[in-house]
Structures are given as structure tokens and as C-alpha cells.
């Protein structure tokens, strides 16, 4: 198993961000090392998605630093980030509904000029059901299958860092398990992942490290399994949720 090295892939320091006049994030610090699976957990509205959107430059009103492989990226446009190796699976259904499954996947490689055939096979290998339905418009797929398309598309970027925003939201238990299994597989094969999850118990169990976010501020940070045993966290976030 490839496990965390010392190389820092992503480093967020002192990040504050606003929607209009409302400050959502307050001096957030966070980092992800090469090969790690890191989770961000926290209640609804804590600002988890906002952090990912900040990494992707979708939010413009902000302050602080975001470094990817030592390079400052806070000034970059969303469309430049795929090129340097960051991919995101946004929250909610994020496929292109009118494009076919295969078009959805291929367009993930939009910024690449190398051969993508092998990567396409790799994605079909991971999600065989997509291969069967490759020529159908993505809108005809079930929620879980659409989530596979989104994940597959993000893999076509050939990312060095994958951001996942609630990848199992609204899926059936068996589909949740399947998606989690794929996430573990991807991480074990060396992909660095930063994931936002509602399912705190599951994500703490899987993660090397996790950040607990509350009202846009860092609240706790630690090894996933340590946080899982932490009384305060059990009390706040794990009460009863399986």
C-alpha cells in the first residue's frame, strides 16, 4: 500500500471567503499529502463545498493562499486547473445530461492532447455498467450511475489530486458501498484524494486524516481513526448515524 509521503500536494492557508457580504470561511488551514485520503466533515452549511469551490477558483471573493505542488493557484481560473492535474466531482448530479456517457467521459480529457484510449478502458474497467450504456445520453442513467460517470470523467483528467464533494449523497446503501470501494481502490493505486462527506463515520474510517469544519472554521483535525474514537466528535457528528 502506498502511504503518505512527506510531499505536500495541497496546502490551504488562512483561507477566508465570502458570498456577497457574508463571510463563509474564516482563516481555514488544511493540507493534503501525496497519496493521502483526507476528509472534510461537518454539518450542513459548514462551508465544506465552499472550500472545494475555492480550490477550483469558482469563488472569486477570497483571501489567503492555496498551493498545489508548491505553486500558488488562488489566482488561477477554473479552466486552468484541470491542465495542472486537479479534478473535481462536484456535489449533486454533475454529469452533462445531454451528452452520451462516452462523450461525458471523453470530454473529461478536454485539456489533454495525449492518447486517452487506455484511460477510457480504465474507467470502463472500474465501472463496467458505463461501458454497456456508453451511447446513451447521461440523463437516462440512475443517480448512482450518473455518479459513476462524474467520477469516471474526473479520472479522465488524469488528476494528481481528486476532489470529491459528497460522492455518495442520495445514493442507495449498495451504491454507496460501491462508490466507497472505488474511492478506496483509487486511493490505494496512488491517487491523492480530498473528500467531503456527510457520512462522517464511513469517511473517518476510510481516511488517513480528517478535518472537522464548523461554521467555516477549523474545529478538529487528526487521523481518521483517532477522530472516530474521540468522544466530542462522536457526540457531535456520529450520534446514531451509521
Amino acid at each position: 500500500m502506498l502511504k503518505p509521503s512527506k510531499d505536500i500536494v495541497l496546502k490551504i492557508s488562512n483561507l477566508s471567503s465570502w458570498y456577497g457580504k457574508v463571510q463563509i470561511l474564516h482563516e481555514v488551514d488544511m493540507h493534503v499529502k501525496k497519496g493521502e485520503l483526507v476528509s472534510i466533515i461537518g454539518p450542513n452549511g459548514a462551508g465544506k463545498s465552499t472550500i472545494l469551490k475555492n480550490i477550483f477558483g469558482i469563488i472569486k471573493k477570497r483571501k489567503g493562499n492555496i498551493k498545489f505542488l508548491k505553486k500558488e493557484i488562488i489566482t488561477m481560473q477554473p479552466e486552468e486547473l484541470a491542465k495542472i492535474g486537479i479534478a473535481i466531482v462536484p456535489q449533486g448530479r454533475s454529469v452533462f445530461p445531454s451528452l452520451t456517457v462516452e462523450e461525458n467521459l471523453v470530454i473529461g480529457a478536454y485539456t489533454r492532447s495525449d492518447n486517452i484510449k487506455k484511460d477510457l478502458e480504465y474507467v470502463y474497467d472500474k465501472f463496467p455498467v458505463l461501458k454497456e450504456r456508453r451511447n446513451q445520453p447521461a440523463k437516462l442513467l440512475s443517480g448512482g450511475e450518473q455518479q459513476m460517470v462524474s467520477m469516471g470523467r474526473s479520472l479522465m483528467v488524469k488528476p494528481k489530486l481528486l476532489l470529491l464533494d459528497e460522492p455518495t449523497l442520495g445514493l442507495s446503501p449498495s451504491m454507496k458501498k460501491l462508490i466507497f470501494d472505488k474511492i478506496i481502490e483509487l486511493n490505494k493505486s496512488g491517487l491523492t484524494i480530498l473528500m467531503v462527506e456527510q457520512n462522517a463515520r464511513m469517511s473517518l474510517k476510510l481516511s488517513d486524516r480528517a478535518y472537522v469544519l464548523e461554521l467555516g472554521r477549523n474545529r478538529y483535525v487528526g487521523k481518521g481513526k483517532t477522530l472516530l474514537k474521540d468522544k466530542r466528535i462522536q457526540h457531535l457528528y456520529l450520534g446514531g448515524v451509521a
Binding site: 477550483f56 469558482i58 481560473q77 477554473p78 479552466e79 486552468e80 486547473l81 484541470a82 491542465k83 479534478a87 473535481i88 462536484p90 456535489q91 449533486g92 448530479r93 454533475s94 452533462f96 445530461p97 445531454s98 451528452l99 462523450e103 471523453v106 470530454i107 473529461g108 478536454y110 485539456t111 440523463k139 470523467r153 474526473s154 483528467v157 464533494d165
Partner: protein, 293 residues
Amino acid sequence: MSIAAQLIANGLIAGSIYALVALGYTMVYGILKFINFAHGEIFMMGAYIGWTLHVLWGVPLLIAFPVAMICCGAFGYFLEKIAYKPLRNAPVWAPLITAIGVSIFLQSLAILIYGAQVKTFRTGEVAQGLHILGAIITPIQLTIIIVSTVLMVLLWLFVKKTKIGKAMRAVADNREVASTIGINVNKVISVVFVIGSALAAAGGILVGMEQNLTPTMGVSVGIKAFTATIVGGIGSIPGAVLGGLAIGLIENIGIWFIPSGYKDAIAFIILLLMLIFKPTGILGRKKEEDVRG
């Protein structure tokens, strides 16, 4: 000659022009959720540029035609960059007002340069009509059908097969997600304006070849093409083509039933009925498809 065949032929000829113009409305709307009300005037501009090149300066039509398309494409590019882009985050009415302003400006400009009286491409007498399936079709009308069909097939291939065409559809589906996979949304918007304007220009010259040019010729075609866009489902490319043909057919077959003086009112009535009863159009997207994360 049968009257039915003739009306259908006339309908298809008018319809293919509406379709060409409707494509610009629908592509821009699909991506920006904005109706470019200056689009009819780009159609008019295309006709006048074609006329200037061909009739005034004697440039062969085969060259004047694409040059007018390119000029209008370039105009569409700068129109978006200068007039609309700065208003991207402004309230929705701001670009609409701007578009109406641009359209009044272009009409006035045309009056200033060309005067209000009509211009025509015709030089000699009208060519002999061809008998096709019971209808009489002039060579110019045949040209209209062939050229517009070719342009629409090319557009379809562009959108389906090319990388930037696929990016266009992706941006129309979900702009934010499209940007995260590296699609330059601004570039796609520019491409859409260029193509839409060039198609409108083509429509303008084709109409100009058959009818007279007036500075306000873009208004009624603009409204009919807009109606076609709504009928077909705004945002849908096949919808714009279907809608255009439908409007052309309905208004031409309609004069069988009502006095032909009311022909131009037909599109208005359809527009009104569509907006009341089926604003999503025939091929329009359903609301639930419009999911944003």
C-alpha cells in the same frame, strides 16, 4: 401545379431561413440564458454586406456570400465581447436592453448608409421557375433550400463531432462543471456568437437574393425566428430547425384559411400560444433536467 404543393414549398423555403436565424437565438440562449434581440439585425447586416459586395462592387456571389458571413461572424464576436460580456453578472434586463439598443443602432446605421428605400440583388428578369413535385420553384428558391440545408448539416456535424462542438453542449448543460474540466467558457461563448451571426448573415443574403432589402427586414424575420426557437424548445438545436420549418409551413399554409394580409400575424399568435401553454417548446428541456450542484 397544385396549390398545396406550392404552399408547402413556399413554407419550406421561408422555414429554412427562419431555421438559420433561429439557430443563433437558440445557441446563445442555451449557453447564456439570454435572448440576443439584436440577432435579427445581424441577419439584415448580412444582407446589406452581401449586397454591397456583390451588387455595388461586383464581387462574385460565391465570394461575397462567405465574406458577408465572416464579417457578421466577426461582428457577433465583438458585439458579445464589448456589449454583452461586461454585463454577464448584471441583472437579466441589462443585456436585454443593450440588445434592443444595438438593434435600433444597427437599423439606424443601415438607414444612414443605404437610405430607407429598398435595394435588390435582382439585375435581369426573374428566371424561369422549375416544376418540382407539382410546385414551381425558382432557381434562387432552390438555392435557398440547398444552401441552408448544407449549412445546417455542417453545424450539426460541428456540434456532434468536433471537440469544441462537444464543449458547446457541455457548457449549455452545465457551465460551472464544464469549466472545472478545463473548458474555456468564454471561448465557447465567442464561438457560439460567431457561428450564430454567420448563419444569420447567410439567411440575410439568401432572403436578399429573393426579396428586397430594407433596414427593418431583420425585425419580422427576427420575431419569426424567435417564435421558431420557442416552438422548437429554446436551447435545442434540432428544435430550432424544426421550429423554423414549422413556422414557415404554418404561415404559408395558413394563408389558405385566412387572408394573406394576416400572414405576418400568424407567428405572433403562435408565439403567444406557445408562451401560454407550452413555454418549454416541442424539444425543450424539462425543468428537472436543469440540475445544478
